[in-house]
Symmetry: C2
Subunit: 237 residues, 2 copies
DNA sequence: TATCTAATCGACTGACTAGTCGGTTATGAA
DNA sequence: TTCATAACCGACTAGTCAGTCGATTAGATA
């Protein structure tokens, strides 16, 4: 039994929806198919996912999938867009003026980390996209619309921090976002290989809790340190 | 034309090795097949790679692949092990006593970053493994043997730093390694999606240079800061 | 030189896979 | 009630895929 078969057999459960279906409901059909497709693409990748399996598990015929989504690629893109939207949606707007730039930045990091820990699906799709050189993502407008507000929010936090004299000047929001997302995402998206190679359960919530704390300290520490006096300096006075 | 076909057509070049082959050479055959397989698994993933294509491009028949590697999974594991070895091999041993803990830690980060920027293949395989919950990696002893020395090296740097009063005490090497690898790997492995979503070419060497500098500052800053002092304290709940 | 091992391959197979097609029937509107 | 629309599906196809098999032959060895 190959690893692939091992994994696939998990999905070999009876159909989630029993036929004969009572009523016709196009919206329900589309949503059900999309949900099942999401699970399959996330765990099997684009090439690894099987349209037949998605159909069987959803309780609808394969013809329905092609009726609503046209082809496998469109179905995948629909999943990609749905997951992207879902990823950013729960992020609440911080009251920057109230909590101040340092706490706002900390919240930014902690919320992102909590979001991917609760549902790592976005990380799998991101990995798939990068393996594929973002071929499908490029064709979608949804993810592109999601990020500018996030960058704007980050820029406002940075500006406020500089103005109040708590952050160093000259930090590029894009550059900071990349660093942030690194510490937020990587430990979760690579939890399996890290656990195997490091011999520690890096997926445990205790480990990830500590990782988030360390990440926050690194990011806040960087932003609050003057670049000239440098990090090499032993202790801040 | 689907994105898959678009990508696959790149590999549709004439065979790298011309037949009739002059001599028989088992070692050459295995190495050639492994090299071509590496390229295919890295860019297409396990499910996406095609044994027929690997055979055609290598200039050997498919029967040779099965003769030497048994099946697709074994071939993939062989690639995985080869890439892992190649990833750690070029890392030179630092003279900790000579350069001191701060520079040693900086070098640790910079060398890791340089290594994956030069050849991101390891990152693709890591992504594939994590999508697969490290199913294949678990069956291999090679990657497991590679990491302990790396952690030992990191621990020595940390200990020296604490002893010399430049690093804070109590940093877990495993925890630090996860943070390090985050900032080292993520920007490179996610360069495609980051570029698309952020609207900036995050794969450019200028951007990555700045990212590495920021990463070094964050890591060194964290290790050289006392956890009790500094502005970080104010944000703790 | 005779012999044996293993390097090598063309052609095959059975299972799988994305996508299609022709038809049936529930449902809402007229 | 009639009827048009679309929700829905079983069965099919053409091509693809991992893996096999029987045979041929280069080259090492005795």
């Amino acid at each position: 039994m190959t690893a692939d078969q091992r994994k696939r057999s998990i999905a070999a459960k009876p159909p989630a929806v029993q036929r004969p279906r009572k009523t016709r409901d196009a919206a329900l059909a589309q949503a059900t198919i999309l949900g099942v497709a999401r699970a399959h693409f996330v765990s099997q990748g684009f090439a690894g996912a099987r349209v037949d399996e998605i159909a069987a598990e959803s309780g609808y015929s394969k013809a329905m999938i092609y009726h609503y989504y046209g082809n496998k690629e469109n179905l995948y893109v629909a999943v990609l867009e749905e997951v992207y939207k879902h990823f950013v949606a729960p992020r609440r707007v911080l009251n920057l003026a109230e909590v101040g730039p340092v706490r706002a930045l900390e919240a930014f990091v902690r919320e992102g980390a909590a979001s991917v820990r609760k549902d790592p699906a976005i990380l799998n799709l991101l990995a798939i996209e990068n393996l594929n050189e973002a071929a499908y993502l490029r064709g979608s407008t949804v993810p592109r619309a999601i990020y500018p507000p996030l960058l704007t929010q980050l820029k406002e936090i940075l500006d406020a921090g500089v103005q109040q004299g708590v952050f160093r000047a000259g930090i590029d929001p894009v550059q900071l976002y990349v660093a942030l997302s690194s510490v937020i995402f990587h430990a979760v998206s690579n939890r399996f290989t890290l656990s195997v190679t490091l011999g520690t359960d890096t997926a445990s919530s205790a480990f990830l809790d500590r990782h988030v704390d360390m990440s926050v300290a690194m990011v806040i520490g960087y932003c609050t340190t003057s670049p000239r006096t440098g990090p090499v300096r032993t202790v801040r006075k």
